[in-house]
Structures are given as C-alpha cells and as structure tokens.
C-alpha cells in the first residue's frame, strides 16, 4: 500500500523530471512510445531505404523494353510473371518490377522537392509577416488568403496548365506552390504568438538586436506546427502529383517511372491487367499513410497540452 504522501511525492518527482527535459527531447520520448508513430516511421524508413538502394535492387532498367516480353504483348493481354521478370511486363514490354522499385526514387523526389519548395517560400513569407507585423503582415496575408480561397487542386491544375509542355518539374512546382500559403499562414500565426510571449519581451528588454530575436528566439520556437504540416504535406504532395498525372498534366515522357504517373497511365489497362494499377496504388497509399501517421503522431507529441 502506498501512502498518500508517497504518491504525491512521486507525482512531484515526475513533474520535475519532465520539466528537466527540453520540449524536443520530451516530444521525441513520447514519439517513441507511440505505436502510431512507430508504424509511420517504419513505413517511411522502408520507403526511403528502397529508393536509396533502388538501382541495386532493381534487376533491370526502367526504360528498356524487352523483346521476350514484347513478343507476347497484345492489346488485350499483358504478360504476367515469368523467369527474370517477377511482376511481368508493363503496357510497353518493360520490366514492371524494376519500374516499381525505381519509381520510389522519383516519387520521393516529387514529394520531398515539392514540400521543400513550399516550405522555404512559405516560411519566408510567414516569417516576414510574423516578424514585422503591421502593413507587411496585412499585405502578405491578404495575398495568401486569396491563394487559400482557391481549392488546392484547382490551383495546382491552373499552375500546371500554364506549362506549354508538362514535365516533372512543372508538376513539382504546381504542387509546391499550393502549399506555400498554408505554410505561410501557419508560421505567421505561431510567430505572432511568440511576439507576445514573455521570453521575447525579456530578450527585447535585455537589448538583444531585433534580427537575433527573430532568428534565434521566435523562429525556432514557432517551427513546431510547420514541421508537422511538412510531414503531412509530403503525403498530399504525392497524392496531388498523382492526380495531376491522371488529368494529363504529368510528365509526358513514357520512360519516366513514378508511381503516380504509372497509376494514371495504367487506368487504360485496368480490364487487361489490373496489377499495373494496383501495385503503384498500394505503394502510394502506404507511403501517404506512413507520412500521415508520422505527422499526426508528431502533432500529438509536440502539443504542450499532452506534456505532463
């Protein structure tokens, strides 16, 4: 039996221990205890690993068409698995397995680049608005509000449609620009909250230069929600890129192996060989799920309300 005093003492000790850790360390600790985070992290780690090792895992090239596959290739039948080609042929007589593996790289590239570009511009705009406030804030936020008032896929479509010839670059740019206003709004919000906080007031009264306050005190503390959003954006970027490909705004190069593009192009062969759509679809769903789980777990872990 534990006495009341003992229980109280333990509670105080726990509190002391918790406050001894930094928010980041604390969040990381809670992340490691969360099964959702573990599942998300494992999926993402596998995805990254496959894409790094892709050239060594894939037995063949993504662009080469093989005569032995093409020989049996008909409009109404696409050859399935056979020796040397574990998943059979794609619609053009190329090794489907190799293309699946190599596509992980392109998909990762699209997701990461799109998110990174969106993040950099969004953070720049959000930080400027949040640091200066006043008319700078008003002007920047009005513009982001307008961008936010266009449904995101419609915005991505209009940007991608501006390109004379669609390519992977135009897809990345279109998907990235859609996330800029979201990042900007988010960072600006948490920067404004930082402006009012006590530690910024303390730094100001100590005579710390404004630039140092913004860069060292406000920005790092305001980045939490942005990092969470970036993880979630990785998932939506990959899905949006797939949607653009489906609408005919993806890369026109038939040799390019990217899951979204492969899924979009496979829709025409759904009756003939559904596996051509299923594998890329499963890959996309898994990866999107992985990033989403990780992002949601991160959000929970960084939420100070959960810190006890």
């Amino acid at each position: 039996m534990t006495s009341l005093l003992e229980r109280r003492r333990r509670r105080v000790d726990e509190l002391a221990e918790a406050s001894g850790r930094s928010l980041t360390a604390d969040a990381f600790l809670r992340l490691r205890r969360n099964p959702v985070a573990i599942v998300g992290a494992v999926i993402v780690a596998l995805f990254v690993l496959v894409s790094i090792l892709a050239p060594w895992i894939a037995p063949h090239d993504a662009a080469t068409a093989f005569p032995e596959l093409q020989r049996t290739l008909r409009p109404d039948s696409i050859p399935g698995a056979q020796p040397g080609f574990p998943l059979g042929s794609d619609q053009n007589g190329r090794d489907f397995f190799s293309r699946m593996i190599l596509a992980s790289r392109q998909t990762l590239l699209v997701g990461v680049l799109a998110t990174l570009i969106g993040l950099v511009f969004g953070v720049l705009i959000g930080a400027l608005a949040g640091a200066f406030g006043g008319w700078v804030d008003t002007v920047l936020m009005r513009v982001t509000d307008v961008l936010l008032s266009i449904p995101s896929l419609l915005l991505a479509i209009s940007i991608a449609a501006l390109a004379a010839r669609p390519s992977q670059t135009t897809v990345i740019i279109a998907v990235a620009l859609v996330s800029v206003p979201i990042f900007a709004r988010l960072l600006r919000g948490s920067m404004l909250a930082q402006r009012e906080s006590d530690h910024v007031l303390a730094a100001t009264s100590l005579g710390v230069p404004r630039r140092a306050i913004v860069l060292r005190h406000m920005l790092p503390n305001a980045m939490g929600p942005v990092i969470v959003q970036a993880t979630l954006t990785l998932a939506t970027s990959i899905l949006d890129a797939a949607a653009l490909s489906f609408l005919g705004l993806g890369d026109g190069d038939p040799a390019r192996a990217e899951w979204g593009l492969m899924l979009a192009n496979a829709q025409a062969y759904l009756d003939v060989r559904p596996a051509l759509a299923f594998w890329p679809a499963i890959a996309i769903i898994l990866v999107a799920l992985g990033f989403t789980l990780l992002g949601e777990a991160l959000r929970e872990a960084l939420d100070p309300k959960g810190r006890r």
């Binding site: 501006l162 004379a164 769903i285 999107a288």
Partner: protein, 334 residues
Amino acid sequence: MLRFIVRRLIQVVPTLLLLSVLLFAWLRSLPGGPAAALLGDKATPEKIAQLNTVLGLDQPIPVQYFRFLGRAVTGDFGNSLVTGEPVTTEIARALPATIELSIAALLLAVVLGIPLGYVAARYRGRPLDTTTVIATLVGVAVPVFFLGYLLKQFFAVDLGWFPPSGRQAVDIDATHVTGFAVLDGLLTREFDASWDALVHLVLPAVALATIPLAVIVRITRASVLDVMGSDFVRTANSKGLAPRTVRERHVLRNALLPVSTTIGLQTGLLLAGAVLTEKVFVWGGLGTLLAQAIERRDYPRLQAVVLLGALVYVIVNLLVDLSYAIIDPRVRVR
C-alpha cells in the same frame, strides 16, 4: 448581427479583387501570351500581332486589366476555344450535374460522418474507435480517381449493381426542367427517371465522399472528446442530469461548432475531387468541362471554372461564418 454580416461581406471584396488581379496575371503569363494560346498551331508572328490588336492586348497593362474586370463583372469570360460557345453558357449547362453530385457526396459524408465520429468518441480506445480512426487515415491516403475506378470495376462491371458511367440511362425519356436529374423526375412525376438518376449517382457520390467523410469523422471525434472533458459537462453530470440529456443537449450541440466549419472547408475539396471523380464516371459536369479544357489547353474555359470554384469556396465559407455567428453568439463580438 446585421453589422457582423455587413462587415464580413465587406471583407470579401478585397479578396475577390486580388483574385481578379491574380487571374489576369495568370492569363498574361500563358506561354507565348493569350494570342498564341488562342491560335494554337496556326500561330505566326503576323497573326499574333493582328489578334493582339483585335483583343486589345497592345494596350497598356492597367487599361487591359480594367477591361478584363469590366467584362468579368458582367459575366463575360470569352468563348471556349474548342466549341466557340461562351464559357458561361457551357458552365451554366454543366453546373447542375456537379451541384447534384457534390450535394449527394456532402450529404453522405455528413450523415455518416457525424454519427460515426460521435460513436468513436463515446467508445474511445475500444476496437470500434480504433478501427474508425484507422479507416479515416487510410481513406485520406487513397487517390480519389483510383478509388473511383475500383468502385466502378467492382460494383458496376463485375457485379453489375450500378451503371458504370453517365447520369441517366440513354433509353430513359426524361424531361429536363432544372437540369438536376433527380429533381426533374420528381417535378415531372417521371419517377423512373428519378430512380435511374439516383442509381447513377451512387458510385460517384461514394467515391467523392470518402475524403470529406474521413475528415468529418475525425473532427467530430476530436471535438466530442474535447467537449466531454470540459467543466460544464462535469457540472451537468454532477447535478444529476440524465446521461442521455447531457449527451444530446450539452455535448453534441457544442461539439458540432467546429464540425460546421470543417464542412464549409470541405466544399473546396469537393469541387477539386469532382474533377477527378467526374472524369472516371464520365459525369458531364464542371469536372468534365475542366478535364477537357486541360487536354485541349482551352484557357478561357479553364480560367472561368477555376474562378467559379474560388467564388463558390469563398461564398460557402462566408455562409459558414455567418451560421457560426447564429449558433454561437460569442463569435459576433469579435
């Protein structure tokens, strides 16, 4: 209350003005300019110069902008490059199909989403809750167009329960009054036409509803959990109110506030999702119009549809804000 409405309406004006500047800039930054886009393959420098004079594109930019604005305000967005018809006429014809599909999807999402989210919150941590949460996470990760094809392949092609595409069977002699196929059947008492339209609506609506459904379930669950932990619920419980009364009058009512905002935000997603769903099911609404515009690079049509999407989004969110003020008096003060 009236002052609140007026203030919110005035706030929309600069947003719309900026949107028009943006769309104008978009049109100007077309590859080779609008004239080259209009002429397509037939473009020669002389023809482009000629067309630029006709279109007034040789005028100073501010003059061009105000002309564009003047035309846009009167509802003139030019003619489609493919059909030559005024874009607004095309949109007016396609709009009912998209509205019908979106309303069906939104109804599905709300009618299923709120109870599911509520039940998940009530049985928090139990298998039912866990399953629901996992399902919502997967639901958001599935590409909408792929889900559409799956539904079509399985329920229409393999099982034959639903028609695979279109809005109404060709052999049904339906009179069109409003353009809303289901409503038209009811109005003209052609109930078989109504039923047929309804059956056609099922698969596309389910495909379109998945993402809003997943989001509504999650927001409802989070919001109900939040309210259940609040002080006034504890007070209501401790003063001996029946659990049912607490749940219905106190928890659910307050929990629905954030949900109504989410529903407003989802309309934007619905419009975007409709583009993908309509392409899969050959629906013939705005999404089909947009998909064609993309394929043929029909810029006037593309621009008009995007503007309409933004406009609907802004208006719906304005309405949500206003309804919020009616439901929750505290909002009006700020």
